[in-house]
Symmetry: C2
Subunit: 295 residues, 2 copies
């Protein structure tokens, strides 16, 4: 901890006045040029498809045009941004795409799961999500649309959900290390206001239930009529590295069908775990098997 924050002796009555509180997305304290450059990338990501102009960026991030110009030039040279000379607009560069193909992808989880997502969405006819934990959120690493014309709140690839909200999140949370789980609960409870789970007791009950059953399934409570089922993907120690989640309308997860779906999900989850850890070099056994006996 320690106050490594350097004192800003500069505040001598300057008063920042006219403080147009930076409402919205940008964080004020960007100092280094690296941070500024990344801020530009984020801005480009959140700007619409046409891209952003230099002065747009300049205004949004509170940087002078020359600075933005120089940073953009670097970003373009490095392939992280693209300049459309015709419209004078900047977009994210395709090299980022190459980078991200590797990002957040331990064990090539995404590649491994891709065919499985395909298979699942075809079999179950619903949309399948692959979620991984990222800090106090779950991130959608991949998605495979099923024939059913529905959309889950879990949203787009790259999207984030507060850990604990939604079935996929719960499945991950239920299979974290105990201490980590406590940390997440502590941090996330305030963030869950009005999105389903409100009180701690209920959350803990849910988690225990999910742990017990090996899957999470409830009406999401977010979209009336929508439900989800999710199972964790476990590492060899039995802790969650990801979750497979199905989002669909509640009718399609009735008493009759639910166990079937859960069964299929568990089987696929186990298959993924096996691929993640083909063989445990120490224990000389394959990865933990979800609901598959003592092991």
């Amino acid at each position: 901890m320690s106050a490594d924050l350097r004192r800003r002796a500069k505040d001598s009555a300057g008063v920042e006045s006219a403080g147009p509180e930076n409402a919205g997305t940008d964080e004020a304290g960007s100092k280094s040029s690296l941070q500024r450059g990344l801020a530009i990338l984020r801005l480009l990501a959140s700007s619409n498809e046409a891209g952003a102009r230099l002065t747009d960026i300049s205004r949004a991030l509170d940087l002078t045009p020359p600075t933005v110009h120089r940073l953009l030039k670097i970003l373009v040279e490095e392939g992280m941004a693209e300049a459309d000379k015709a419209t004078k607009r900047y977009r994210l560069g395709i090299d980022l795409f190459g980078l991200a193909a590797q990002a957040g992808n331990p064990n090539n989880l995404r590649d491994i799961c891709r065919p499985i997502l395909l298979r699942l969405s075809a079999t179950l006819r619903d949309t399948i999500f692959l979620l991984v934990r990222s800090g106090f959120d779950a991130v959608c690493l991949d998605r495979s649309e099923g024939p059913f014309p529905i959309r889950s709140f879990t949203g787009d690839i790259g999207g984030r959900v507060t850990l604990g909200v939604g079935q996929g999140s719960l499945a991950i949370m239920a299979f974290l290390h105990a201490e980590e789980r406590e940390e997440v609960i502590r941090f996330n409870l305030p963030r869950m206001q009005g999105v389903g789970i409100i009180d701690e007791v209920y959350l803990r009950t849910e988690i225990a239930r999910v742990r017990d059953l090996g899957y999470a399934s409830r009406s999401t409570g977010l979209l009336p009529g929508m439900s989800g089922v999710a199972v964790p993907v476990l590492d060899r120690d039995g802790y969650a590295v990801a979750a497979l989640s199905v989002g669909t309308i509640s009718e399609r997860l009735n008493e009759e069908r639910l166990p079937v779906v859960v069964d299929i999900l568990k089987r696929e989850s186990t298959a993924i775990s096996r691929q993640l850890n083909p063989f445990d070099p120490v224990l000389r056994r394959p990865a933990a098997i979800l609901g598959g006996g003592p092991a």
Copy 2:
């Protein structure tokens, strides 16, 4: 080690600065911290799944450990990198993933094409690639594996191929603006040494042929026994914005099956074009239709 500090004494010649000679191309001398930060990200992307340690990065990029440490700290704070505290290794951060979901994705091409790739790979049982142009390369924007256990040289998502090498590339190249195509040919011919097309005449013949037929199909020449078929995805003016490509073994693209595959690809390509430009506000007609008459 550390024969790298030789540049220190340069100042003896007086200031003389103000001469940023390196205009145009960038080479060894990464100067700005933004560039260094991005270099770290690229290094992390290319390092193996376990991640890279601080000193690895330091050595690889010829930066001092304190510098790398500081940059990594920023990258981690910004979510672009992740530190595995246990192993002291750094990996790409998952936020990059969120960024890239938007990157190089005009009109959400990727999202639009996703279900189509799925359908195609299921129907044709081969692997389908979605390629877009990026400078003088084609980049694999998405991929959908078919049941057949084959891999095309086009490789992974985010991977690059020289424009003109491979069927997908050719399909794009054949439907570029004429001047752009000339530029690409001029630039790429030297890069094609030993990867299939060697001489210009042959390349131009191929391009003309592809333009004429509306699809590209040849044995790749890169992997014996492998072939590919590709069709361009056209914008409303009839120029290529992408290509749909099938990679498979040559036996599966015989005289009998090829026309069927081409037909299916063209149909899907047209469907994509329609979605890209639902309706031309000026011409009052849908996007150009591949091989679909005078439009």
